[in-house]
């Protein structure tokens, strides 16, 4: 096997590896007749990603030496990523990148030919394995939308970096809505800020989905593909179905294509399904002395009814025993508010911890079980997939 990549394509390959690294810890490399395929899957099998680089992407592409079997191997993502760790440096100094098998077929050799005659050679150990195949078919998904990656990237800009899940759906007037998702049971659900972006259908190149449909998936894994697509200036197509069925993101151009398949939450609680924000409504009632009498499109969600309960209890000032601490710190529990008030004892910022995707995600789409069939160092039991590289 021998692949030679030159010029700007080296950085493209590097970026692809970076986005794959957001998903899984192992990179499955397989040179095919159609091109070089790089795949990965996450540990809970709820996310799969695959890039296929066509032979034209390379200056020289040879899937296998004559008489040799096609290589099918997996490498530690960390090792492969370290070759392309600093994309800025790759862009500035690397002129050519050559991926091949070492003479004894024991290592994958990645050689970077840099400026000033510097040559960096990485010998990566790998494991032979079965081809990683996920069973999915974008054509079977009834709904799709397509937009320049930039549009979606701008939409997720406002979400906190630590946010794990996001809900994508169609709201009133065929607007595409992206909303931050928080599990209802989590302690911080009540304290977390909810952000929702809506994008008009005019920003989409294609939009075939009914109003009211919504799916929730892992944002962190999605961001990987989004940043790649944005830097390559490509359009992103989203194929989806009912909640529970995986969502498929695809990008393509003449030299490469990419597929990211993410599982979606099976159960949707009623409020997150309600992506249709209230329509703009009635003018501001004239009873306020200070209002400017013009039509405004504020929602009718005002807090009036909540406060009716509060007003009846706020009469007694100072008659309640204050908490014993002498600090006049505001956020003490205030149990005298309306019965529906929640307990808030501290005022820490509600960052969503980086929890792995909840167990409700189902891995629906794996057809084959991976096992190291031929290990260069001799047979090893099927279950003992040692993640530490040999040698």
């Amino acid at each position: 096997m021998k692949c030679l990549i030159t010029g700007g394509n080296v950085k493209v390959l590097g970026k692809a590896v970076h986005s794959l690294s957001r998903i899984g810890d192992e990179l499955y490399l397989e040179p095919l007749k159609d091109g070089l395929s790089l795949r990965t899957v996450n540990s809970s099998r709820s996310a799969y990603a695959c890039f296929l680089f066509a032979p034209l992407f390379f200056q020289q592409y040879q899937a296998a030496s004559p008489g040799q079997d096609l290589l099918r191997c997996k490498i530690l993502m960390k090792s492969f990523l370290s070759v392309f760790r600093s994309l800025a440096m790759v862009e500035k100094t690397v002129e050519k990148c050559c991926i091949s098998l070492s003479g004894s077929n024991s290592h994958l050799v990645v050689q970077l030919h840099c400026k000033y005659g510097v040559k960096k050679t990485h010998n990566l150990s790998f494991q032979d394995c079965e081809s990683l195949q996920a069973v999915f078919n974008p054509a079977l998904c009834p709904h799709l939308l397509r937009a320049p990656a930039r549009v979606l990237a701008e939409a997720v800009l406002s979400f906190p970096p630590a946010l794990t899940e996001v809900t994508l759906g169609i709201g009133h007037g065929q607007r595409v809505i992206l909303r931050s998702y928080h599990e209802e049971e989590a302690d911080n659900a009540n304290k977390a800020m909810v952000t929702e972006t809506s994008i008009g259908e005019e920003d989409f190149q294609q939009l075939h989905a009914p109003e009211g449909i919504a799916v929730t998936f892992c944002l962190k894994e999605f961001r990987g593909l989004l940043s790649f697509a944005e830097s390559a200036n490509l359009s992103l197509t989203v194929h989806f179905d009912v909640p529970g069925r995986p969502v498929i993101f695809t990008i393509e151009d003449s030299l490469l294509d990419g597929h990211f398949v993410l599982a979606t939450l099976l159960e949707q609680d009623p409020c997150s399904q309600d992506l249709c924000s209230p329509k703009p409504c009635q003018p501001v009632p004239q009873k306020e002395a200070h209002s400017t009498p013009h039509l405004d499109d504020f929602t009718n969600d005002d807090i009036d009814c909540y406060m009716i309960a509060m007003e009846t209890t706020v009469g007694s000032e100072g008659s309640r025993a204050q908490p014993s601490t002498s600090l006049p710190h505001i956020s003490q529990p205030s149990h005298d508010l309306a019965p529906s008030s929640e307990e808030e004892e501290e005022a820490e910022p509600s960052t969503v911890p980086g929890t792995p995707p909840p167990k409700k995600f189902r891995s629906l789409f794996f057809g084959s079980i991976l096992a190291p069939v031929h290990s260069p160092q001799g047979p090893s039991p099927v279950l003992a997939e040692d993640s530490d590289g040999e040698g």
Partner: protein, 276 residues
């Protein structure tokens, strides 16, 4: 209880973003006080700590209407995480409008709607629901407008950018900065350690008119009034100040308090740093 406000002016929006960014650096939790004629930001904190007080007059808003807790107490006090507010409006610099509304979506929220008109006909809206706590009246006294004592001296500040650079460099040398000023428009900043003293002299700054009238007769206008404050607290104030305000001044209460005031177009920011 009702609160609806809308900002459409670009400059006001930028100021708002700046104020909320500054508030985030100074206090984790802040209180929004909605009054009939203005919106106030207040940082809560322990008595020895620096405090912030921001105000946006109602005229700054394109639309402003509110209905307080009751006729008699026509105000609303909302406690929220400063970081939420800053994050919600951080990218609103190019928004065509920013709407604030107190809503009840399963729990009290301050809903911030940022509308971006990226190109003609294409509107994109971002809606943020910030969880807020409506403070009962017995907590209102924690967030009153800070009393401004008659200061010993009051002087206009030099360019904020210059000040920020100076304080940053001084922060590398020592923990505390000595700020002094007099009624002849002079101000000095200095930091002192065992081995080195760095001092910056500013002159011809001018004094606000009220300050001059307040002085008791016979006091030498050359007399420097000084206060020593923590470097980092001072630096927090200068961080993120991108815009040159219309009015920037400081009041010094000798050895007790440094009071910085920035005013720009109906939005003002006051920062009180106690001596340390």
């Amino acid at each position: 209880m009702r609160f609806r406000a809308r900002i459409t002016s670009r400059s006001v929006l930028e100021l708002f973003i700046q104020v909320s960014g500054t508030v985030t650096k100074l206090a984790k939790v802040c209180v929004l006080r909605v009054c009939p004629d203005r919106l106030c930001f207040c940082s809560t904190g322990l008595p020895g700590e620096a405090r912030l007080w921001g105000e946006a007059k109602r005229g700054v808003f394109h639309h402003f209407c509110m209905e307080g807790v009751s006729e008699e107490f026509n105000e609303i006090y909302l406690e929220l995480m400063s970081e939420h507010l800053a994050r919600a409006i951080k990218n609103a610099g190019y928004a065509s409008s920013l709407k604030l509304q107190l809503t009840n979506k399963l729990r009290p929220c301050l809903t911030v709607v940022v509308e971006l008109a990226s190109c003609p006909g294409h509107t994109r809206a971002m809606v943020h629901d910030l969880p807020v706590k409506v403070l009962p009246r017995r907590w209102w006294k924690e967030c009153t407008e800070p009393r401004v004592w008659a200061s010993d001296v009051s002087v206009y500040l030099p360019s904020l950018k210059t000040l920020k650079n100076m304080v940053e460099r001084m922060a590398n040398v020592g923990d505390r900065v000595l700020v002094e000023a007099n009624l002849n428009g002079k101000m000095n900043l200095s930091v002192e350690t065992n081995v080195v003293t760095i001092k910056s002299y500013f002159k011809n700054l001018g004094n606000p008119p009220k300050a001059v009238m307040d002085t008791t007769q016979g006091e030498d206008p050359e007399n420097m009034v000084q206060v020593r404050v923590d470097n980092r607290k001072l630096l927090l104030f200068f961080e993120g100040q991108q815009i040159n305000p219309t009015v920037a001044l400081c009041n010094i209460l000798s050895n007790t308090l440094l009071h910085l005031v920035l005013v720009h177009d109906g939005i003002s920011l006051q920062y009180f740093i106690p001596a340390s």
